[in-house]
Structure formats: C-alpha cells, structure tokens
Symmetry: C2
Subunit: 338 residues, 2 copies
Amino acid sequence: MADGKKADRVTIRTVAADAGVSVAAVSKVLRSAYGVSDALRVNVLQSIARLGYRPNVAARGMRGSTYTLGILLSDLANPFLPQIIEGINAVAEPAGYKAMIGVGQSNVPIETRMIESMIDYRMDGLILVAPRLGPETLPAYAAQIPIVAIGHHEPDAPGFDTVNADDRMGAALVVAAFRARGHQDIGMISLDLGVDHHTNVSDLREDGYLAAMAAAGLAHMAQIRRLELNSPRSQGQLAAWLDAPDRPRAVFCWSDLHAVDLRNMAAAKGIAVPQDLAIAGFDNTYIAALPLIDLTSVDQAGTTLGRGSAELLLARIAGRRVAEHRLIAPHLILRGSH
Amino acid sequence: MADGKKADRVTIRTVAADAGVSVAAVSKVLRSAYGVSDALRVNVLQSIARLGYRPNVAARGMRGSTYTLGILLSDLANPFLPQIIEGINAVAEPAGYKAMIGVGQSNVPIETRMIESMIDYRMDGLILVAPRLGPETLPAYAAQIPIVAIGHHEPDAPGFDTVNADDRMGAALVVAAFRARGHQDIGMISLDLGVDHHTNVSDLREDGYLAAMAAAGLAHMAQIRRLELNSPRSQGQLAAWLDAPDRPRAVFCWSDLHAVDLRNMAAAKGIAVPQDLAIAGFDNTYIAALPLIDLTSVDQAGTTLGRGSAELLLARIAGRRVAEHRLIAPHLILRGSH
DNA sequence: ATGAAAGCGCTAACAC
DNA sequence: GTGTTAGCGCTTTCAT
C-alpha cells in the first residue's frame, strides 16, 4: 500500500490493452457471459494469467455480483458450527463463491448491524445460522437480499428459505431411547432466550419432547427447565436442579452444551451416569464423542445442513422466488450416558 | 432485490437533497472529516436518520476505506479461536470497524485465495490467525494491505506486525510444573505440518521445551513426537505411542487438541492420569476446564491476543509504518492431569 | 461477435 | 465552511 502508483495496478483496462480487445470483452470472459468467441476467450484468459489480474470485488459490487456469500453466526462458541461452515464451503467454492463469516455475539443489535453490513457490502446472499432475530425483522431483510436460515423454523415464510434438522423427531428419538431403558421420569433442559419466538430450535425440541411424552402416556411426568447459555447464573441453577431430590432420573438436554455441563457437574457431585441420572444431548459435537464424556446425542448432520443451505441460496441467487423449506431427519448416536 | 427501482434507493445524493447540502458535505459528515459546521452536521445527521441511509460499502471501497477488518482463521475447529475473535471485536466495534472472518480450511491454496479475496474486497486491514502461509509469501501481501499475524513468530519481519503468546515461556512453565512433581522423563507431542517454517507456534514450543529440559540437565531425556492434526492416522500413532513400554511418564502437548485426545485415550486404555501418565496441554480451552477432563494447560489469554492485534492493526491503518512485535506472557493453569 | 460509453455511489481534490 | 466535479474499476445497454 506504500506506493499507490496507478501505473502498476492491473485493472480490467490493463488486461484489455494487453489482449488487444475491449474492456467489455474482458468483462464478458470474466463472467463467462454469452457472446464471446473461443479465440477471444483464450486470448483474454492468457492475458489475465500473464498479468496476474484479479477483479476488484468492490467495483464489481457496484454494478453486478460480488460472488460472495455472507454467513451470520449468532455466536461462535458452539462446536457444532464448523461442520455447517464446512458444508457451505463444499458447495460455494466449486461454484466460484467465497464465504465470509460475521459473528453476532449472541446479541440482537450486533446481529442486525452485521446483516446490514453484509447487505451494504453487496454480498450476493446470506446464510443466517440460528439467528436470534425474530420473524418480524427477517422478511424486511429478505426483501433486500436472498436469505436462507438454518436453525430457524418458519415453514410458511414466503420470502426466504429455511434448512433445519427435524428437531421434533430428534426429541422423540431421545424419549424413545430413554423409554427403551425403562425410564418414565424423563425431564428436559431447554434454552432460555430472553424473548422467544417460536422459530427457535429449542422450542421445536420442547414440542417434540412433550409430544413424545404424551404419546407414551407420560404427559404428567413431563417437565421442562429453561436455562440461559454461558451465564454463571445458569451454572448455579443447573447445580440446584441436580441437587433437588425430586429431579427426573433421565434428562434430555436441548444441546450438548448443557448436556456436557450437566455430565461434568454430575461427576463432580458423585452422581453416577447413567445409573442415577441418564443424560442425552443434541448436536453430537466431538466433545460428546470423547470417551470421558461419552454422551448419547442427536446427530443432525451439520455438513448436510450447510450443503443444503448453500444449494438453496445459490438457486435463489440464480432467480428462484418461491420459498423452500427443508427438514432433515436426524439420528441418535447411542453412547454410555443414557 | 425484486424491484430495483432506482427511485427508492437512498444514496448519498438523496441525503444531500433532503438536507439541502452538497454530497461532499454529507461525505464529510459520514467520515467525521475536518471542516463541517455543527449546524450542517446536525442537519445531515437528521436526514440520514430520517431516510434510514446506510453507505454502500462497495462504493466506499473504490475510493476510500471500507471500515472492515478481515480475519483469516487457518481452521475453525480450535475452540481457542472464539476468544481471539471476541478480543478483536472488543476493539474494532467501538472504533467503527466491522470484522469479517474467512476460513482457510487448513489448506494453503484456500488460505491464499481467501487473503487475495479480502484484498480484492478492499478491506482496510487483515489479521491472520495462525496462518499456514510461509514467511516467503507474507511480505508480498503485507505490501498490499496492513497485516497483523497472530500465532506466527517472525520477530524481525519489517513489513507487518505480530502478536504472540511467549510460547517458549509457556513450554518452560510446563516443564517446571512436571519437575515440581518429581518428573524427569518428560516428553513432548508436537504438531506435524507437512512443511514447516520456524514461524509456527509449535516450533517455538518445541524450542522452549528443549531449552527447559537442557537447563534442568535433562537434555538426554528429551524426546519429541510430531503428529498431524485431525487425521485418523495420527489417532493410531497416538495409541501406538501410548502403548510403547518406554514412553515418557509425563508429556507436554503442544495443544489442548492433542492433550484432550491423549487424556481420553489413556482413560480408554485404563492408564491412570496423572499416576501412570502426567499430561499438560496448551491454550486452556474450556474443554480442559471440564471436571471430567481436568487438564493442566497453559493459558495464553486469547482475548488479550485479539485485542492487541486489533490495536496494532488500527494503528497501522492509521499510518504507522514501523513493525511492532508483541509477546504476551502466558501462565499455567494447574489442574489434575499433571 | 465485438466495442464505445454511460453510469453504479462514493471520496478527494480543488474552487469558491 | 461549503460546493463542484473528476474519477475509482467494473458491468451493461446499445451500436456496429
């Protein structure tokens, strides 16, 4: 950046001059647009390679596409997220798209600003992962830019697509696994977001849990305890819950995050798992798979979620208008905690 | 995106018209540049708020700054990274900068393309976290855009800044802790990157380990085993290493990633920790802190690294030319594994 | 099939 | 202190 000699910056004009063609021709080759002869294309491609030309994305963004997808993560801490990113990249890269990630820091205003930034950046489309944003704001953004949401249940939303694990089914799988072990006294630990929209995965998991309990004639035993995430307070509440004499003998945690905490807290208190307390989580993160944790958990195939969302987004960028809502069947990974 | 009516797009010109001033005046207010009266500023600010105007970042990028920092992560899997991001955001946000993250997928070509994309995007500066890129390519990029590297030791690099934990010291802390427990037979598990530059943190940790062993008169006992990351092969190698009758009784792992694996593998094989095998890791991730893992680990204050890198980057963007190289003292968190 | 030229929305000289 | 205007590098009609 030291010397901004305009002479040495390779632009589309440099390439055009080098190849002896017009800038319009170069632009067409760049976008593999219709209407260029093979000879011209080869010629231009050679110049591009020779000069090491790379298009200025900012300039492109002013008129056309940036070939960039924005990924908004509500929070970076969940070890489940890398799988999703991987899945997205697996589809985006070969299609010539780059993924840029923004982090919402579990905070609605920051998340909002981040989405607006991505729009202002003229990204071609957005994948929102577990957005904290409510269903009242999303459509407004979806009118400005193609959007796909993961971990956000709005099966009737007309303006954007969604990709989700079938969270109800995941909960049902857990209840069934507990019952197969003879449990009836099955509780659930869910997520306490300050406000809640019924678009959160934890809501659907609660639904699935309650439905499965009812179907098993155990509706009267069902109980849900909601805890915050990453708050010192919730640790105390978890401990108190664990110490209560009438606590359930089996517990379905909405996420591995809470399940792992619970598993460790039980160990610290000398409560035997699964004999005195059976536990199952959700997400099947690699922590659940560690032998010392050995947590039964619902696997929701993060890579598949990521791939699906990228496919939908690219199709939407390509022009699809009608919304699509995918539900992916999860499966339960049985380990020693249940 | 549906209707691109030019009429309804709010641009700097719309604001200027609404406020009854020139576009230059609006631009100056936007950048809080010198030379605008308070009255004009207030007037413009009101128009901006009324119209809900947001500057087009792509357009800004063509002439001036984008107020965006690019963060390149070599790989998203390490649970240590969120701390760094948090630290960066804590500095960038208040300064009016947005951070966008790109993932290198532990792959040099992808990492390279990502950096080039960020340059093409006209980001104002880059923070590279544990770049796989060698010292031969970095200066070329640093000539094009302000760069700060974290987890990359080049204390003499003139073109960019670095921020690192004092990895040698971290290793020495571990060796000292093992010796305090009476260990002499102390080995190390390090990282096997295909190629290695002596800029990797694992190299420095090896250095520190060897130096500490030598200083303690234990040079003859020192042994380093290098393993790949996330490869099925390395799991087998780790198991083989663990089964060898002459393996060390204490082992310093270059990262919690390997230390946690080792801890779990030991448990699975019925090897008592720390009696039959003492273990210490590096990074003090939250996994190390789980009671069931209970891993002694070097804490390198990720948030501090993140903050420091963002501060250096902003200063460099503001015009600083001379390189700065920060080393942050780590400390050892003692737990039950050593 | 190819090229000329008009912007996209903003910043930065430069006038006034 | 404020306004005018020439681009930044690209895409995109519209001629040819």
